[in-house]
Symmetry: C2
Subunit: 137 residues, 2 copies
DNA sequence: TCCTACAATGGACTAAGTCTAAGTCAAGAA
DNA sequence: TTCTTGACTTAGACTTAGTCCATTGTAGGA
C-alpha cells in the first residue's frame, strides 16, 4: 500500500505488527505528529502497543532517513514523513501549526566562508515564523 | 557596568539581587547557556537563588526582547544574550557548540508568496548544522 | 517445526520545566 | 526614615517528554 512500507521491507527492516502500524500512521497523514500523537493513533489499531516501542520505531525511522525529526517549539518533537524531498518549515507562533515550504535558491549559499569558523556545514534548517490565516484574525 | 542592566533599569524593571545576578551572568559571557547553567553560575554568587526564579527571570528577559531563546537540540533551551543585533546560529552536530553567524542577504526574501499560505511571516530562524573543527578530527 | 537474534513490553527513572501557597522585599508615599 | 503594598522569591510538589532495562515474545531463516 504505501511506498514507505515497501522501502522498509526492501531494506531488510524486520517487520512486526507494531512497526507496521507506526509506519502506516506516518505514511497516512501528511501532518507533523508528536510521538504521543503517533502513539495514540497507533493504539487505535493495536491497543497494547507500548510507548517505548513507538519511541524506538520513530528513532529508527529517523536513522534510516525515512522520517525527519523537528524540534521547533522546545516542546515535544514532531515527526515529518515527508523526508524524500527537501523542504523547510513555516510555523504559526500562535497555534503551532506547521506547513512544509520550499524556498527558492540554496539556503547554504548565503553563509560566507568567513562566517563558517572552520565548520564543515552539511545542513541548513530554516524555520519561518508568523501567524497563520486563522490566528491572524 | 553592563548595558543590559542599564537598559532594564531604564525600562522600570524592578531590580532585585536575584534578577541582577541572572542579568550579570548573561551579560558577562557571550556563550549560549542553558537555564541550569545560568542557575549554577548565579548560585555561585547568590547561593539561595531558586531554580524557579531563574526560569521566571529568563522568561521575562525573553519577553522584554533582551535575550533570545534557542531550542536547537530538543534538549534544554539555551539563552542568547546577543539580542541587539540580528544573527543566525551554527551548531555542531557532535558536541552542540553554538556560534553566532551572519548570513549575507535577507533570508525572508527567498520565500515566495506562493509558499506563504496566507501566513504573516515575521521572523526567520536559520540553523546551520555541521561539525566544528575539533569534532571533524 | 524449531531456533535464536532481534523486537516489544511495562514500569521505573531522568531531565527540563511549571505551578502554587506562603513568605520577603524594593521602591514609592508620607 | 519608616510604612505599605504589590510584585518578587522560595521550596517542593507536580507535569511532560523521553530513556532505560530486565523480561517476555516473535519474525523469519535452517
Amino acid at each position: 500500500m504505501s511506498d514507505l512500507l515497501e522501502r522498509l521491507r526492501a531494506r531488510g527492516w524486520r517487520m512486526t505488527s507494531q512497526r507496521r502500524v507506526v509506519a502506516e500512521v506516518l505514511a497516512g497523514e501528511h501532518v507533523h505528529l508528536t510521538a504521543d500523537e503517533v502513539h495514540a493513533r497507533a493504539a487505535e489499531r493495536l491497543p497494547e502497543i507500548a510507548r517505548a516501542t513507538v519511541y524506538n520505531t520513530l528513532g529508527e525511522l529517523v536513522s534510516l532517513g525515512e522520517v525527519v525529526e523537528l524540534s521547533t517549539d522546545g516542546r515535544a518533537k514532531r515527526y515529518d514523513p515527508n523526508a524524500h524531498r527537501p523542504h523547510q518549515h513555516l510555523v504559526c507562533t500562535e497555534c503551532g501549526t506547521i506547513r512544509d515550504v520550499r524556498p527558492s535558491g540554496d539556503p547554504l549559499a548565503v553563509l560566507p566562508d568567513s562566517e563558517r569558523y572552520g565548520f564543515t556545514v552539511s545542513k541548513v534548517d530554516v524555520t519561518y515564523r508568523g501567524r497563520c490565516p486563522s490566528c491572524a484574525g
